[in-house]
Subunit: 265 residues, 2 copies
């Protein structure tokens, strides 16, 4: 599998049982896509050791370029990501000195000592590089396995996002494809999705590198369909020109069918 593929693995019962909406996954999916990665799978698993290990192993078996996990790095009994990662990679799970100093510094600022539960947050798969957590206490984990880059981040969204922006994104940029991604969505009123389907196929047969997807919110009644168009190129001008050409053709064809076309984003 290509180096520019990614899996996002979110860990936590509260995600699979629907108590929370998985905004970490959509935030990361957006970031990775705009960096030029192809997100092939987003998986949520509960805090169950065998489930966490099996999904990490599947991703490794598929030779995914980048794996990002969120959740399960805290001090409680059900925070199992780090230990499961060690098991999936078949390496020792041991105290990471650098991580230990990070965690200790956080608690000693507050006059709190290192209990076993706090020390647990510094246990990592051997060969890991801890990722500093600016606002919380649990460091993230960065580890390479063959050609796969693995990043384990906390589940608290504010911590996850700031750690991604500061420490993960710079590393990903080094391996990301050198392309510019451009996109646009237009809204079409009065043409049912089933009637515009042949038009999309016609455009796609001419522009093989363009991605188009229609999102109907109403098929009968007063049909409303959003059409999303995305393309990428190593040359920004080329990408933008292709996008404009595709949008122009779509507009012409859709207006011929009696559609009203509105620009959205």
């Amino acid at each position: 599998m290509a180096v520019h593929t990614a899996w996002i693995i979110t860990i936590g019962n509260e995600v699979v049982d629907g108590r929370i909406v998985n905004t970490n996954a959509s935030w990361l999916g957006r970031k990775l896509t705009m960096l030029g990665f192809n997100v092939l799978r987003v998986v949520a698993v509960p805090d169950v050791e065998e489930e966490i290990i099996s999904v990490i192993k599947e991703a490794l078996k598929r030779r995914v370029g980048v794996i990002i996990t969120t959740g399960g790095l805290g001090p409680t009994y059900d925070d199992k990501t780090s230990e499961c990662l060690a098991k999936a990679l078949n390496v020792k799970w041991a105290l990471n000195r650098e991580a230990f100093e990070m965690v200790k510094a956080k608690y000693s600022q507050k006059g709190l000592s290192m209990t076993n539960h706090r020390k647990k947050m510094a246990m990592m798969p051997e060969g890991s590089k801890p990722i500093p957590n600016p606002t919380g206490t649990a460091p993230g984990i960065f580890i390479k396995y063959n050609d796969t880059l693995i990043f384990a981040l906390p589940g608290v969204p504010s911590e996850m996002k700031s750690m991604f922006d500061k420490h993960v994104e710079p590393l990903l940029k080094e391996v990301a494809p050198k392309t510019v991604v451009v996109e646009k969505t237009v809204r079409v009123i009065n043409v049912p999705e089933s009637a515009l389907a042949p038009i999309l196929e016609k455009v796609l047969s001419r522009y093989s590198k363009v991605y188009i997807k229609s999102h109907p919110s109403e098929e009968l009644g007063k049909p409303i369909v959003d059409i999303y168009v995305r393309t990428a190129s190593t040359n920004r001008r080329e990408a933008e020109e292709t996008l404009l050409n595709v949008l122009r053709i779509l507009r012409e064809e859709l207006e011929r069918l009696g559609g009203e076309v509105h620009e959205t984003t």
Copy 2:
């Protein structure tokens, strides 16, 4: 794997690339959990045939009790769920008469004829039972495979939800465990998660059927942790009593540590 396990599979590039937040998954996860199912995995895959087929096959291999998919049932070239389902199950993909009549009726009301793109929405794995779509045009699919019940629903949330409530939930209730699920969340202020971790472990060792999870929003500074408690029993009174006992013990122990305990939901 037990009959009361479930996987949710959401299909669509817009989910993996983060253009939308996966509210279908959280809505379904909540529904399945409250019906007594154990949601073991929520997977989002792009509109890529090999990805869709492989995830369905994985779920079947794991002998999951219930598989619910959303998305990919519409008329466009990238709506591939039905065909991929047939391939994963290794059965023919053919025109389903009952589904054809459903789709035809929708369009003929509007004076529209059946094009190939519309007919496609009536193509289903052999042995499927179509699920009526009250507001949209694409019927859902219900099919059994060994002991696994498979439901394929549209991705448009309003269509998915009404079809689940009307046609899927009644079927699931027949096989669901005859238990009542009760839950409560309390908010604890002033006790860092790392300090309350040992208390949770103590309670869990006494109440093995209770599920407890802590969700920190702040560990240092002014610590805030939400503690979620859930239990299930065939007897509602027993479930409620257990929940109250656990909450009472938690409150006592947390107040002893200087915590303020607030009831939330």
